[in-house]
Symmetry: D2
């Protein structure tokens, strides 16, 4: 990663005075506008500081988000589109609502269109209606989970989508979605650039798994592991309510185990956390089944949390097994584990009772909790600030507790994963007491 | 049903003055003890009153529960056992806790044994430990779902169980469980009678499905449909978040659809409620799939709630398919429906998105809500009053909002089901707008 | 009370066939319409049955609510008004929503007016706007507490109100409110009768205190004590977090202590429940302060719940101290007790720490829980059935778990109070361990 | 602030090998121990980096917390004390529990004493018992709010407290409390140093107001504003339920308005946030009452959130008005505002209805939410790591999302306050629409 990689593209000169009542005058008790040159360090260790000082290198840093004194789009002439893509995530409606409110109440922009059912809504053949979004229409949508606009998976023909943007005279498109969606947004941006249009493409990263790179936390993630926490509490009751009771909870986490790990750290009742970042064996001396049995003999119950992407090495895959978003479809590790545990313990005549719980749809469709609501509101506001100031092909990030702006390609280059030699995972090992490795030598 | 069927058996003369500070003196501002002769009418319609008046028949009525002025067991010499059997149900720990507290604080009985893992705990070969229950030990267990004592399914050898009761010198056994458990309790009672022992067997009916006959409501049922209500709210978000989105929620209800019906009445967002009491067709002019498709075309989303016992006619069954409790194991109607819907709509090229949610383990392992907590406390107290007064082979019931005592055999004779020509079901039809029948002619 | 007192008034012959798809044909799997002659017994004891049988007296009974085969108002020509009066109560929006939905979806009545801010909305001088209520407008209001229509206290000039009803061509007025509101509704009915108008006045009883006579439970009451339960749990933490910590929680209950009593029965952590039905002394041998001190010495903390109407005998009152609803304004017993406890213990040099909590506004503005939601829905539907069938001057009640219809004057004649010699109160004494009396001899 | 100010004191050489199974070998898939030299930058702006680079100054940084390879105390010989001081805060029990668990399960230290009722528990004359804390005893305490150990306000005689530590042979004292408590801990440290004892004093900062300097967030704060969020939602129902309805909610925030501001940002329904950092006028052209009236005329309702420390300039204070913790006792701005609003609007004949809500005791006594639970667990673990490694006179902080160690004096030097020219406050102004200033010129 180099300093230069993190410079955000602009549509052009921000020549319009912002309608926001900020000021730079030092005699006024208000917020200073943020300058494009303000940046946040990526690495906050003193060690890195010393290295950069010695080498003279420019440390990697991210542009600070926030309201700009001058903006690019003239509010009275600006028309905005919002689209939500991919799976549900707590907070989607908060983000939609806050974009609409910020545009309307702060920038005076009332022409906001809701694109229905993801990128499909930009393709004529689907014939999905467009919704005119007003502040009063969205006033209560944050109380409900899901997405007010509907969603769909997968990208669509880029040229047709940009045709639609042109036809609808949309100046700013907010794309709320995961890395597939953001790649789609980047493609839209490139098509727009090719056509030399003045349309801004703003990405708002959505990943309930919290696995988008260079972003400290994504909206909905905290709500997700908080609900998982409560469900694991109940699962623990199932486990301890039977002799050698086992509760097996599958949580979200296609490529990374953040939800599973965080839930385990908050509830502190989980005995095994299985994540995509760590392979494990089922059988043999150090295999999972043997260690599980040991735990049952000692304590007569066990709680297992498995991220959906864990243990995929147990399955053969073919290239065809992809969902509409282009993700490799995971085989169901939860059902697989449940079957293998039952099979093994039955074979050995080891009495047990296993309960399998898959709460994913319940979790992702919940409304955002208070902290996520606050986060969604600020995230949306910062997306609006940046988009109206003429930035494009960017996402709003969050790093060291500050909102940042980053080029889309930098955050979709790879996924964020749990560092299995790092502090988070060590804390999980401490909280569960599970062995560092469940691989046979 | 006849008046005579509902007379509760007694161990003998209640010759000990109750230590409760009740009084019958009219000059004292306290509760009057309940007399064994006080009874609650079964049928509260004026019509039935008139019929009985004409025919001279004695109307069916249930003995009123409550503290008796004289009791059978001398507190200082009494030893009590508590056992919980069958599946989890919200409120189990409240019942355990309130029995212990009532015995200790009101009757001065401190020797209470917790039998572990259901009736297994009364059989030597399982070697489950016995727990001495004290008021301080159970003081916080009601905050947690599940059962503090553990549970198991199925009955055990009656003679061995009564041997254990004799060896442990237990005078009163509280059996908390469903109709299988209560039948077991009745068998224990018969064995006790055969041996001419002075041991009381008290049944506390537990059925999350609310399907025990002649009992207005069972503990945990309200908590269950309340949590189901919240989950359906989220399921509705899943449904409306996708084009032609379908959310299919399987709820508990082996033989009766009370949870599904009540949840639908509280949330008012369900479009189809499928229950064991009503058979339906999948295909054909009036079949479910066609009606579902119609709904989707009109509104682009649908929420379906199916009780686990619905649609069992779609499966072939054999006598072997019974669980340890002796219940016929239901085939999974949820998975079946999901597959059939997908199959049909794919075949027809009808775009749709289906999400299947099975929250049963999450619901049944939750702690009781406030109203159920109150109910559990009173239920337990009334069980203690009745048991100490020497009643046996009884359950504590609830009818016309009053606690009652009934012979075990009367409540396990058949299950309570939804009257599909009655008010409850009509209300569900109103709330969902689903057709009265989904059977082809 | 006599049988004759409970006959509900009708506007006239129900000559219109109900659009509901009910049937009386026995070959049809649907709900039978309810007949006007169906009634529910008031007293369900076998004893009362025997008395009536002997005396030949007609037992007191209430008309059963439910859909009628014939109705009075022709749907296409019917216009409906809804008004909410008095203090907030969980479930108000559920009731409003269900009336609108039942009228629209079941009876095909789309002309529904929301009267704003209680009876004020029927008086021209206040100039409050009228809201046209549609099914889509009310679709999410039940997720939020409060009242969508606004409310106000107090009655208004009856003639002017009926003038407004005439001018607006309202045929059916639903008045949702407490006993003051219902008295107002009765006055409106009398004025309507005087003018020989065919306007129906339907009362939907609202009392968070659950103190309306002859009604088993009122909507919002369960939600209220459930939230109180959680707050008392926290109050208990405050009490036990300090040496000789006292938590004093004031709950609603102007004339009756049902919320305080029910919350104490569900949470089982309350040491003293003080209610309007029982006077007590502060000082002296058996006075409250001495008993409180004793509890603190024994256990180092105490939780007190006081209903707002308790201890009013400590205050001098004048006739002027009435609120707009005509209720005598209670002096603040919570603050008074807190001051007296502090004063006394300081005087005696008894170390302690007291925390006073008054959660009333938080409780009454909450949304209804699932069970109350279900109840509100059915209550509203039954109100619609009855009103459209031409009943007037009635309330929808609930007795022995069935919805009933009763003349307004019968339910406002007196308030329902806790029977301090009855089962409920005895259970509270059991749960708290507080003395039967805290009056000095 | 200078680099040198942030060096943490040690008791001596860490000569014992940690029993934690960490490793530094690069071939092992486990967490590397943290080295004392690892530090986190205070200022993460690129600007500050450039300044330091130019000036050659060492940037301010904080020591990184985490497990050390060598520790100071030999586990088998170590005895630990835990004390909780000051007001309740969500998460206290999680912290206690995690300290006990970390000591027992990870370091093998089983001798842990709970000091009852704050620093009082170290003073013989109070005669409070000491509790031996075991892992099983604390296993469920985190489900309940409050503090398992009890608390008290105010410091005590330092010499006597250290006498007690010596008598009890305590090697490590964990002091959980606010800045008063931490100052007390520093005094204890100085007395220990004077006596040349090898006793470690570890501070765990507790402030529900989130106002401890140099600490990004304190435990319980998120739970606090989350509950406040829900209560404001209800308050909003009260406001909109009456004509010109005003809901006035007083929240915690003696010196800083973080809870009020964060709650307003999450709920987005607050119209006025009043905080200690900003003075305002009641009367006059730009005074609060005039602006409130304007809002009511426009929208007929208003929600006001006031932090308890706001508006103290309206009161005269004397030096005597301090609580046991030495904090100036705030006059009740909530009641004051309510009275002034009523008075003014009555005088002007402006119809209105005001509801005042003070939920502080309910909020602070709640259990921690999932995210706070996770945070408390990690905070406690890091406190244990640092204390056992021989650090003393330190607090565990949190900065840039990493746990840090800081000398106590640095964090109690001043309080953290809202920067009223910063981003947080600007966001509040955006969310509420309230004017930047309510001071008359």
């Amino acid at each position: 990663m180099k300093y230069e990689d993190f410079l955000v593209t602009s549509l052009g000169k921000a020549g319009v005075v912002s309608p926001l009542k900020h000021t730079k005058r030092t005699d006024s008790p208000v917020y200073n506008f943020v300058d494009d040159s303000e940046r946040i360090l990526y690495d906050v260790s003193l060690e890195n500081f010393n290295i950069c000082r010695e080498t003279g290198e420019m440390p990697v840093s991210f542009e600070k988000a926030g309201p700009r004194e001058n903006i690019f789009f003239e509010p009275a002439k600006t028309k905005v589109g919002i689209v939500t893509c991919g799976g549900l995530c707590p907070g989607l409606n908060n983000v939609i609502r806050s974009i609409v409110n910020e545009l309307y109440y702060r920038y005076g922009i009332g022409r906001v269109l809701g694109i229905k059912y993801g990128y499909e809504g930009l393709i004529p053949k689907y014939n999905h209606p467009v919704v005119e979004l007003t502040a009063s229409m969205v006033s209560n949508i944050h109380l409900i989970g899901g997405t007010f606009l509907g969603s769909s998976r997968g990208n669509q023909d880029v040229e047709k989508m940009v045709d639609t943007l042109e036809i609808m005279n949309i100046n700013v498109l907010f794309c709320i979605g995961g890395d597939g969606t953001l790649r789609g947004a980047h493609d839209i941006y490139k098509e727009i650039e090719k056509r030399k249009l003045k349309i801004c493409v703003a990405g708002i990263p959505k990943t309930i798994d919290n696995d988008i790179d260079l972003i400290q936390k994504s909206f909905g993630f905290e709500t997700a592991f908080s609900i998982a926490n409560d469900i694991i509490r109940n699962a623990h009751n199932e486990a301890s309510g039977a002799f050698n009771g086992i509760a097996l909870v599958k949580l979200m986490g296609r490529d990374s185990g953040f939800i599973a790990a965080s839930a385990a750290l908050s509830i502190q009742e989980v005995n095994f956390v299985l994540i995509p970042e760590i392979t494990f064996d089922l059988y043999g001396q150090r295999g999972f089944l043997r260690i599980l049995k040991k735990r049952l003999i000692e304590r007569q119950h066990a709680v297992i949390v498995v991220a959906e992407g864990a243990g995929q090495e147990f399955f053969e895959t073919s290239d065809n097994d992809k969902d509409a978003s282009g993700n490799v479809k995971n085989k169901d590790i939860g059902v697989y584990l449940k079957d293998k545990i039952s099979e093994e313990f039955k074979k050995k005549g080891f009495p047990h009772s296993i309960k399998y719980i898959d709460p994913s749809y319940i979790i992702r469709s919940s409304p955002a909790n208070a902290n996520d609501s606050k986060f969604c509101n600020l995230l949306a506001q910062n997306a609006v600030h940046a988009a109206l100031s003429g930035k494009t092909d960017f996402v709003v990030g969050f790093w060291n507790n500050q909102f940042t702006l980053m080029p889309i390609p930098m955050v979709v280059a790879k996924r964020k994963k749990i560092d299995v030699e790092g502090e988070l995972w060590w804390n999980v090992l401490e909280a569960t007491g599970q062995p560092i490795s469940m691989k046979n030598p």
